[in-house]
Symmetry: C2
Subunit: 128 residues, 2 copies
């Protein structure tokens, strides 16, 4: 796919990154939020496997490459001002490195935070 | 509500901001992504009406104050590393300034972008 027309619609920030929200396409669960550079967007569209850019490691992060918990791209949407992407995906297993299905497993309740979702996979087995 | 315990769990960035995804609580639609500072988080929790921080205007942005398209907070979740919030909300009317229900109305298709959702409200009536 020629991705230049799509990349031209994205407003990458001063670091060359755009925010990307991953949502399970059929259930609507918001799984995680991460960042992409132009190369990550292009690779994701070319392969159908979601690739982010890791800000901590400063390199492409092929989601699930180590853990096996891959994200398959179903659809890619761009917001009104082009600075956020919404990735409709199919998440294999768990999205979060903690072993939770998604990264938003803590909810404000009673003046503090409560865990509202279980650990489904022992994190040790994800990066063993 | 004493929000200090909650604010302590949030990793605000160098500009004092945290990314906030708004999702319609009952349908799962991802409506928009914007930013909050500590004051916006506190005000949102105190009032139950979602308040962001506008990066372009550099001030609190009480969602819907001008347009009437308010977001009522249903639940607030924090991600695993504390740098993204997921706001479960009830969106009155439309979330997007373009008059679309949500900001993600453009989808990659056929090597370009296609509008996948209608304009529901004339934007001129939102900010008239």
């Amino acid at each position: 796919m020629d991705t230049s027309a799509i990349l031209a619609e994205i407003s990458f920030d001063a670091n060359g990154l755009v925010a990307a929200i991953a949502q399970q396409h059929d259930t609507g669960e918001v799984l995680m939020m991460a960042w992409m550079n132009a190369e990550a967007v292009s690779e994701t569209l070319a392969t159908g496997q979601v690739t982010y850019f890791s800000r901590s490691r400063q390199k492409l992060w092929r989601k699930g490459e180590t853990s096996g918990q891959r994200q398959k791209l179903v659809a890619l949407r761009i917001d009104c001002d082009g600075d956020t992407l919404l990735l409709q995906v199919h998440q294999d297993g768990v999205a979060c490195h903690t072993g939770h299905r998604d990264c938003f497993f803590r909810e404000v309740a009673g003046g503090g935070l409560t865990e509202i979702a279980p650990v489904l996979v022992d994190p040790k087995t994800l990066y063993g």
